[in-house]
Amino acid sequence: MVEILLDATVRAGTPILFATLGAIINERAGIINLGIEGLMLIGALAGFAATSLSGSLLIGVIAAFVAALLAGSVHGFITVQLRGNQIVSGLALTMFGIGITALFGRSMVGLTIAGFERLTIPGLSMIPVIGKPFFNQDALIYLSFVLVFAIAFFFYRTRWGLALRTVGENPAAADTCGVPVNLYRFLAVSIGSGIVGIGGAYLSLASTPMWIENMSAGRGWIAVALVIFASWSSYRALAGAYLFGGITAMQLRFQAMGTTISAHILQMLPYIFTILVLVISTVRLAKGASQQPESLGQPYDREDRK
């Protein structure tokens, strides 16, 4: 029972985890990206379309990454090079993603593909309780584990990561140290968006191997909130994403058990939790536990007189 619940938790949390990690990379460079929801949909459709055409799941994942990266780089161009309003541009990206995937996805509705299958990791999967849920999963879930550690290593152990964090904290400081601020920001937005796209692809290639219009169903927004909950750390993003996965898994379980609580109420649970998480983490922020990149949301203009 616990194993089944944990297994469902990991599977439900993974798309949110990818999206949160991508958003963290964006925000660490100082750019707010509210286009996560749209990017997930773009990734989901691109991944599904590429796989159903080529028959290869790998090509599907790559297509999802590239498509979301390209869409995200538009946001990057607007917010970094043109110093546009990050909120407006991000919202536009979400609208764009919802619209364009609905349009091009119409011919994909009803098609089926063979999704990701479970790969058992010998040894580790034998650990009682947590073995099966974590090490008898599909390749994308393993990729998400690797990403969590790789991103933390990148941020705290490499000079590029240090430069990226400095760009998000105080772009002028980075600039005077010779760091090309705009390039860093643009790449962070693009690559971060690509990772969000893989989260979308998980939905259409692993969770339910088919295309459903608007299938991200608000997960992108949950990821935006989780970034704050995770205080911009990839490890805490993992915890946060599984917390939401767990709530989703539990409400599904409740429905399956046939409780008298309305299914609509149960389906609201993850979103109610999003609001709770935001309240709690904002209170923590206000109390000074802030990890927020100091220049988050502020365009950098070298010639701006400060």
């Binding site: 000079r159 240090l162 400095t166 904290e169 105080n170 400081a173 005077t176 010779g178 090309p180 990890q291």
Partner: protein, 500 residues
């Protein structure tokens, strides 16, 4: 070594640099002198590659160079300690220095690097914890980190923008010793300061800037304080005033008890701060910048709320009262960009002058503004305070720093406040305007207004205060009598030692 020829740089609506030329020799300390807005910082930002000039050229060792980014400048060995430090408060000292280093392999040993940085730190007798986050350090220590960043990069030309503003007199002395050493090594230093005493002490040559033009360059021996002052002021008149030995009342107009203020990080900017201000007194507040002076001014003028403690006006508790607004008025220094404190830069002089009293019946008819009354009020004030305001309807942003300060003073004094809080009111002003500010405070004192003068310029404090209080880390260290104290004594108190 470096030659600057006819540099011109404009910003929308402002000519920041008109035509500036001067040169720097190897192993020389070259001082730039000028009021705020004369273009010193702009010029230095051109040299560090942050701003691109429209005209003119920069020659390094005789060959013209183009500086398109700070990267280019650093590559040529030009580095700068900025007035607003270029540090990341949330990162550790090590991380801040690490980013500034060049020629580091992508995989490096943290241990050996830390040792290397540690050696440089020891060379200067500094006590810095490499793993501590920068925001925990004093502002003075942060300044040293900036300098170490440049030294680790082996810069040939070091630019220091008002470095002593955040140091105690003792620390400044140590900085000058370090600068002397660097000079002996053949490095060139551009030094920017407002404090004449320091300029006289360390400069080999001085270039005076005025309104975006370089007036003249003088060799050591050719200049003295008077000569430099008259160059900076030019044809402007200096208002004459004498400090009157007036008797300070024993009435306490403002009593601050146990005041504490927390900042955004939950740390105390002010802690258990006690102070009493008497009627007609000019109370100077000395201290190294960043030791709670700003928080004190902000809580008194209502920009911040106190976390604990009381502010009493006579018998009344006005800590959180709206009455504070008309009882205490505030002025602050005019920052280079003219857009932060005290004015709405894009609004006209007329509107800025009534900003505190726009609700008053004198300036309105029912719910409409009375433009005529507002205009005649402005005319009266412009006349009374000798403000050079330009044509009617001129936005305040186009005024010089000294005239903006006058606009603020005119507005703040119009409601006849009992207490004036002045936060670095003369920083960056030309000497004429600074004298004017002093005169306003002295005249006010004669009329019974009390002034809290927060300044980092000890000469200013010693000259006009009736009493000097010293702050350190948000606490009151003690009070001294300006007639009986010495710079050394105040300096010691500024570093938290030697309370009398």
């Amino acid at each position: 070594m470096l030659q600057i020829e006819k540099i011109r740089k404009t910003f929308p609506g402002v000519v920041a640099l008109d035509s500036v030329s001067f040169s720097i020799a190897p192993g020389e300390i070259h001082t730039l002198l000028g009021e705020n807005g004369a273009g010193k910082s702009t010029l230095m930002n051109v040299l560090t590659g942050l701003y691109r000039p429209e005209k003119g050229q920069i020659l390094l060792d005789g060959a013209p160079v183009t500086l398109n980014s700070p990267r280019d400048s650093l590559g040529l060995g030009i580095g700068m300690v900025h007035q607003h430090f270029m540090l990341v408060p949330a990162h550790s000292v090590f991380e801040n220095i690490l980013l500034a280093l060049d020629n580091i392999p992508h995989f490096f040993s943290r241990k050996t690097l830390k040792k290397k940085i540690g050696n440089v730190i020891r060379e200067f007798d500094l006590d810095l914890d490499l793993d501590a986050p920068v925001w925990r350090l004093s502002i003075g220590a942060q300044q040293w980190i900036e300098l170490i960043k440049l030294l680790m990069r082996n810069c040939r030309l070091l630019i220091l923008d008002e470095p002593t503003a955040v140091l105690t007199p003792q620390e400044s002395k140590r900085l000058f010793i370090v600068l002397g050493k660097l000079k002996e090594q053949g490095k060139s230093i551009i030094f920017i300061s407002h404090k004449m005493r320091e300029v006289m002490e360390i400069s080999d040559r001085v270039t005076v800037l005025k309104k975006g033009r370089s007036l003249t360059t003088l060799q050591r021996g050719d200049f003295d304080e008077k000569r430099l002052a008259s160059l900076m002021i030019g044809e402007d008149q200096i208002p004459q005033w004498e400090k009157q030995t007036h008797v300070v009342d024993d009435d306490v107009v403002l009593q601050i008890e146990n005041l504490s203020v927390h900042n955004d990080r939950g740390l105390s900017d002010l802690e258990n701060f006690d102070l009493s201000l008497k009627r007609g007194e000019i109370l100077g507040i000395a201290g190294v910048a960043g030791n709670g002076q700003k928080a004190l001014a902000e809580v008194l003028t209502g920009l911040k709320t106190a976390t604990a403690g009381k502010i009493l006006a006579g018998e009344d508790d006005i800590t959180d009262s709206t009455a504070k607004r008309s009882y205490i008025a505030g002025i602050a220094h005019i920052p280079e960009d003219r857009k932060s404190i005290g004015i709405a830069p894009d609004m006209t002089v007329d509107d800025n002058l009534i900003m505190k009293s726009f609700k008053s019946r004198a300036f309105r008819n029912w719910i409409f503004q009375d433009r005529k009354a507002i205009r005649s009020n402005a005319e009266a004030k412009i006349d009374q305070f000798a403000i050079k305001a330009g044509p009617a309807g001129n936005p305040v942003r186009y005024l010089s720093g000294g005239n903006i300060q006058k606009v603020i003073i005119a507005r703040e004094l119009s409601e006849r406040p009992a207490v004036l809080v002045a936060l670095y009111p003369t920083r960056g002003l030309d000497i004429g305007s600074a004298e004017y500010v002093h005169k306003v405070m002295a005249d006010g004192a004669a009329d019974g207004m009390s002034t809290l003068l927060i300044s980092e310029d000890l000469d200013e404090l010693l000259k006009i205060s009736d009493r000097i209080a010293v702050m350190f880390r948000g606490r009151l260290i003690g009070c001294v009598d300006p007639l009986k104290t010495s710079r050394e004594e105040i300096g010691l108190m500024m570093s938290g030692e030697g309370a009398p």
